[in-house]
């Protein structure tokens, strides 16, 4: 038995998918804050409105790394619109759940991905993701 995490979380934590930086990404999302102990960077490559590749680098706990990994897996191959439907809860569920104190990690992953889309849209159209702002880091949640 190990850790207060599900097997899925531990699998993505120990064998994270899509780790690394990307050469010439079409969009980059950077979220988190060293004070809180989590920093995520997510990179996407988009072709014909489809996310053909995604990568990440994360400084953070087990849940932060696993949610980054799972988020990149989930968005790869999806259209921007499909991918934007992805919520932090979906990421957590795909990992068979997270301990309550770790749910903020899934929020970070959602933000990182949406930040990357925002960046992509800004570059392409000059206008970012409409109505979107990353969640505030909230020390209480």
């Amino acid at each position: 038995m190990a850790a207060p995490y599900s097997k899925k979380v531990m699998d993505h934590f120990m064998h994270p998918r899509n780790v690394g930086e990307m050469e010439n990404p079409d969009g980059i999302g950077k979220v988190g804050n060293p004070v809180c102990g989590d920093i995520m960077e997510m990179y996407i490559k988009v072709k014909d409105n489809v996310i053909v590749d995604a990568k990440f680098k994360t400084f953070g706990c087990g849940a932060a790394i696993a949610t980054s990994s799972m988020a990149t897996e989930l968005i790869k191959g999806k259209t921007i619109e499909e991918a934007l439907k992805l919520t932090n809860k979906a990421v957590a569920e795909a990992l068979d759940g997270l301990p309550p104190v770790k749910m903020h990690c899934s929020v970070l992953a959602e933000d990182a991905f949406k930040g990357a889309v925002d960046d992509y849209l800004k570059k392409k159209t000059g206008v970012g993701l409409q109505g979107w702002r990353p969640h505030e880091e909230d020390h209480e949640h």
Binding site: A2, A3, Y5, M10, F13, M14, P16, V19, G20, E21, K30, P34, V35, C36, G37, D38, I39, M40, E41, K57, T58, F59, G60, C61, G62, A63, A64, I65, V101, K102, H104, E137, H139
Partner: protein
């Protein structure tokens, strides 16, 4: 795979001799020490023997020992007990910023109930400066509480020097010695303290039992109220088996103290050197030499603590981290922050604490496995740029 436990500051396995000593007190010698009949008197005698053993380890008188449910209760008892009993003399107490939560939380509680609390700073090595205590004392001060050694960074505080000041000023002095009793010599008279907290499970005794040393003549209100146990200082049926175990653990610690220290220091220093030699950008937290023989607390730059911990756990190595994630809070360790390091670095801390069963091979194994884990995690870290 042999599991390697390097979290002796969190808790220790009960020593086999301690477990054996406790055994008869569950189902055979099960009396309530308050009972006058033979079952009760048998239990009472066992509790009093344990009281002598605990007192013996810290050079106290048996009557000065009150058994509690652990270190936390002992700390609550000391802080609140002094505050309540001495309100007529003043409403100011002084604690350090790096105290355990079991001191900080009662202090904050008092702060919300009419007391003034000074939270003293520490230097980069985690040392409280006696001059700061001196300066903080006012004519309203009734209590100073500074821990003997810090549980996270292992720094040992200058208790003897501080007690010279508290004695001169006529202020009660409490020390949380949960991490030192059984680890390094503790003598209540040399330290010059009026109150001292200890906890059995940190020295190979059972969890759920501890003690507060209360120097004769100290004005203190009870904390847990009810029956007349512990000479009216702590109500509730005594945890007889636990107390017997605590007594035995103290007796063993007294006999083995020097050999335990001699065993740990070379292992500790080997681990520190090995980590520094094999991993770049690491910092030893706490004081380089005035530290507990068991403690190796380091910060590994660019990597978060829990992610290291989990990787080590997969390899069968159990360690701890002061990082936010482990406690469910988002703030980094208040102890590390008080030593002046950045939150980012504080999140990258990891604590190895060694003990009786730690071997040279265990350290070798850590040194083999750990650098690879750091390397792997640094590859994932956005703080490391190609």
């Amino acid at each position: 795979m042999k599991r390697i436990y390097l979290d002796y500051a969190a808790t220790t396995p009960v020593h086999p001799d301690v477990a054996a000593e406790m055994q008869p007190y569950f189902s055979e010698k099960f009396g309530n020490p308050s009972s006058i009949h033979s079952f009760g008197q048998e239990a009472k005698a066992a509790v009093e023997r344990a009281r002598e053993q605990v007192a013996g380890l810290i050079a106290a008188q048996p009557e000065e020992i009150v058994f509690t449910s652990g270190g936390t209760e002992a700390n609550n008892f000391a802080v609140q007990g002094i505050a309540l009993a001495n309100e007529d003399r003043g409403n100011h107490i002084i604690v350090s910023k790096i105290e355990h939560h079991a001191v900080l939380e009662p202090a904050r509680f008092l702060e919300n109930h009419g007391f003034k609390v000074t939270f003293l700073p520490v230097d980069n090595d985690g040392l409280v400066h006696p001059e700061d205590v001196q300066k903080a004392i006012t004519d309203k001060t009734i209590l100073v509480s500074i821990m003997h050694a810090n549980n996270e960074i292992g720094t040992i505080e200058p208790i003897e020097e501080i007690s010279k000041i508290t004695k001169e000023k006529g202020v009660y002095f409490h020390t949380d010695a949960v991490q030192t009793v059984g680890s390094i010599p503790v003598d209540v008279n040399k330290l010059g303290v009026d109150l001292l907290s200890t906890s059995a499970h940190k020295l190979y005794g059972p969890k759920g039992v501890g003690a507060l040393y209360i120097r004769k003549g100290t004005r203190l209100e009870p904390f847990i109220r009810g029956g007349g146990q512990e000479r009216h200082r702590r109500a509730s049926t005594e945890n007889v088996a636990g107390i017997v175990g605590f007594g035995k653990a103290c007796e063993l610690a007294k006999n083995e103290l020097q050999s335990r220290i001699d065993h740990l220091i070379p292992l500790r220093d080997k681990l520190i050197k090995g980590i520094k030699d094999n991993i770049q950008d690491v910092v030893l937290n706490g004081h380089p030499s005035i530290r507990l023989p068991k403690n190796v607390d380091i910060t590994v730059k660019y990597v978060e603590g829990e992610s290291m911990l989990l990787n080590l756990d997969i390899e069968g190595i159990a360690v701890s981290t002061g990082s936010a994630c482990s406690s469910g809070a988002l703030e980094p360790s208040h102890v590390l922050m008080a030593t002046g390091i950045s939150p980012e670095l504080a999140h990258g801390s990891i604590r190895f604490t060694l003990g009786r069963l730690t071997t040279d091979e265990d350290i070798d194994r850590v040194l083999e496995v750990y650098p690879k884990i750091v390397e792997k995690l640094r590859k994932m870290s956005p703080l490391v740029k190609k």
